[in-house]
């Protein structure tokens, strides 16, 4: 099924990382109880890690046999970033990380509103008022459904404790 297509940017590196991860996992699984018995806690993890190593090697082998990445399409780091990690994605991941770090501090309502506003603004680039309206409307629905209907406990935050 895979024959004929060119390798994707960074695919070889990913296959190598997968093999390394599988080997480390096997080593860790061996560390649980070694080969001391057939029904020890470590046996099944060792089996799974072993299967993972074999399949990772097989993936690496078939990846290496694929034709190289097309010229000008991610042979360099810049190309890899452009093809696999476009700027939009990097910004989004960064925003998610900031959002998650801010969550325990600001609470769910404030941090989610800010994240939603920033997210829509970055991805859509409409007028700020439209984005504001969308954010408020969406948050009202989300808050209503989860807090009132499902009664999920939402993170409160230290900053506005008791307010939302």
């Amino acid at each position: 099924m895979e024959r004929g297509r060119a390798r994707r940017p960074g695919e070889r590196a990913f296959a190598v990382v997968a093999v390394i991860f599988a080997i480390v996992a096997s080593w860790q699984a061996y560390g649980i109880s070694g080969f001391s018995g057939l029904s020890t806690p470590g046996f099944f993890p060792m089996l799974a890690a072993g299967v993972m190593t074999v399949s990772a090697l097989s993936v690496l082998w078939s990846t290496l046999r694929l034709p190289d990445v097309e010229e000008g399409k991610g042979r360099t780091l810049g190309g890899f970033l452009r093809e696999v990690l476009p700027i939009r994605l990097r910004v989004m991941v960064l925003m998610v990380i900031v959002y998650m770090l801010a969550l325990p501090w600001m609470g769910f309502v404030l941090s989610s509103s800010l994240f939603l506003f920033a997210g829509i603004q970055v991805l859509w680039r409409k007028r700020i008022l439209i984005t504001c309206g969308l954010t408020v409307a969406t948050m009202a629905i989300v808050y209503g459904v989860f807090q009132v209907v499902f009664q999920v406990v939402l993170p409160q935050g230290i900053l506005l404790r008791g307010l939302f």
Binding site: M1, S39, G42, P45, A48, V51, S55, M92, M100, L116
Partner: protein, 507 residues
């Protein structure tokens, strides 16, 4: 007899129970449809605020959510190519290509009718064969569960993704994620690296939301500039000719679904995949090839996963063994209400058994009503620009993950899985097998060890057990065929068969 009938129709005539069943089914459809919101999660949350209620209203609401949720996953699978629930993975393979051709309405209509049909087959089986099926399922022992788990993961791994090796890798990764934490048998730490928070294990809902919700949102960023796909919803009520044509396939798929659902540990997900595989193998001349919108591949998994609901109740109510994750939660609900699901439940509280049967039948009727009517409103969500949808998916994923145990650490796990899942998707790995591995891994581990201890840690006896018991033998042969057919060994095997018969083999 008269008492059973009264219990059977209890929720049909009591306005409050009727309302709760309808509300549960309606909510279930949306919970099932929204990726990251799982039926398991919804039922666990429902239990937390229905435990003060009487047992029948609680069961009515939860039953409705279960029924609606199993079906709801198909909606997003068809319209967005994101299975709202693992049981809809196979549905996405055929439903999305249909939607892309502008046949979303037809796909949803057909799915709804076949889901309801499958649901009734499952409920009928629950009512008629509960004792017989449970006495069959009770004969399964540890090694059979181990085999079923392996078959489940390998099926998911081989059905999707670029190559079998990638599917196996993903499945094994999932098993390892499921192993993290204290070993349930010896309380020894596994992959905990001395961290206390890892001892409790990695919550599988965080993994599920990360791999299916966040990773998908990241992938969607690539296609942000593409014009929003306006799914044309023209025809919802399926053609009578289609219903007639696929009737027997629906019957057979529902049968598969009921039986798989009745097997402890295997629920709608495996039922759907097995039925899809069955349809793919047995359909000689599909109108369209599989993978490009074959209706057979849409009908089989959907009939099967809803049939599995009725099936899953069988071992739960008669043996006290959950058929899948949701029924495991429902068992917890029954315990909270002071009931003991098990062989004695049918004897001591037969009215609850008949109530459940009647209530599921009612929920299934509501499924038909809501399934065929709410589609146009539902598709408005799809027409919503991705720029709003993506941040919203991330927020919903955060709420969902946080709701499991109110622990912010789970959210970090979810993000990590989201990023890993993104790379895996980019490089052609499917994330479905990971989730199956996470869920089935611990089950397979404990069953493997029980089977090995049963064989007195003798590898010879252990291996012999796999071929000397009829049920195990059937499963072993199935597993080996599956393995062989997906590896280069198949060619060698077929040549050998061909040579030994003295004529060319097909494969």
């Amino acid at each position: 007899m008269a008492e059973s009938f009264v219990s059977l129709t209890a929720s049909w005539f009591d306005p409050w129970l009727l309302f709760l069943t309808a509300a549960g089914t309606f909510a279930g459809i949306y919970v099932g449809a929204i990726p990251g919101l799982s039926v398991t999660m919804a039922t666990s949350i429902l239990i937390s605020f229905t435990f003060k209620w009487d047992v029948t209203p609680a069961l009515a609401l939860i039953g409705g959510v279960f029924m609606g949720g199993v079906y709801g996953g198909s909606r997003t699978a068809i319209l967005l190519n994101i299975p709202g629930a693992p049981s809809a993975i196979a549905t996405a393979l055929e439903g999305y290509p249909m939607a892309k051709r502008g046949e979303a309405g037809e796909a949803i209509g057909l799915t709804t009718v076949m889901s309801v049909f499958g649901g009734y087959v499952g409920i009928l089986a629950l009512a008629l064969f509960a004792p017989a099926i449970s006495s069959f399922a009770i004969m399964f022992n540890s090694r059979d569960y181990l085999l079923l788990g392996l078959i489940g993961i390998l099926l998911v791994g081989s059905l999707s993704g670029e190559s079998f090796a990638k599917g196996v890798f993903a499945g094994a990764l999932g098993v390892l994620i499921g192993m993290v934490g204290l070993d349930p048998m010896t309380a020894e730490g596994r992959f905990t690296f001395g961290s206390i928070s890892l001892m409790g294990g990695i919550p599988y809902v965080a993994a599920m939301i990360g791999f299916f919700g966040v990773a998908e949102a990241f992938i969607q960023l690539h296609s942000l500039d593409m014009p929003v796909v306006k799914q044309r919803i023209d025809r919802i009520i399926p053609r009578l000719s289609d219903l007639r044509r696929y009737f027997w396939l629906a019957v057979r798929s529902s049968g598969i679904g009921t039986i798989i659902g009745a097997l402890p540990g295997a629920g709608g997900d495996i039922a759907a995949l097995l039925a899809y595989d069955y349809a793919k193998r047995t359909t000689k001349n599909p109108e369209r090839p599989f993978g490009e919108g074959a209706k057979e591949g849409l009908i089989a998994p959907e009939a099967a996963n809803n049939a599995a609901v009725g099936g899953a109740y069988i071992p739960m109510l008669t043996l006290g063994i959950p058929g899948d994750a949701v029924t495991a939660v429902i068992i917890g609900a029954l315990f909270i209400h002071g009931l003991k699901p098990g062989p004695l439940m049918l004897v001591e509280t037969p009215h609850l058994f008949w109530f459940t049967v009647g209530n599921l039948a009612l929920a299934n009727l509501f499924l038909l009503i809501f399934g065929l009517t709410g589609i146009r409103i539902f598709t408005k969500i799809i027409e919503c620009p991705k720029a709003i949808l993506i941040p919203l998916i991330i927020i919903l994923s955060v709420v969902g993950t946080y709701a499991i145990q109110n622990n912010p650490v789970d959210i970090y796990w979810m993000l990590l899985f989201g990023v890993v899942g993104y790379f895996m998707k980019v490089y052609g790995f499917e994330v479905g097998p990971i989730i199956l591995g996470v869920i089935l891994g611990p089950m397979m581990d404990s069953n493997y060890r029980r089977a090995m201890m049963g064989a007195r840690n003798d590898i010879g006896i252990f291996a012999w057990d796999f071929v000397s018991h009829p049920i195990s033998l059937v499963l072993t042969v199935f597993l080996l065929t599956l393995l062989l057919s997906r590896t280069p060994l198949w060619g060698v095997f077929m040549r050998w068969v061909g040579a030994s018969r003295g004529r060319g083999a097909k494969g």
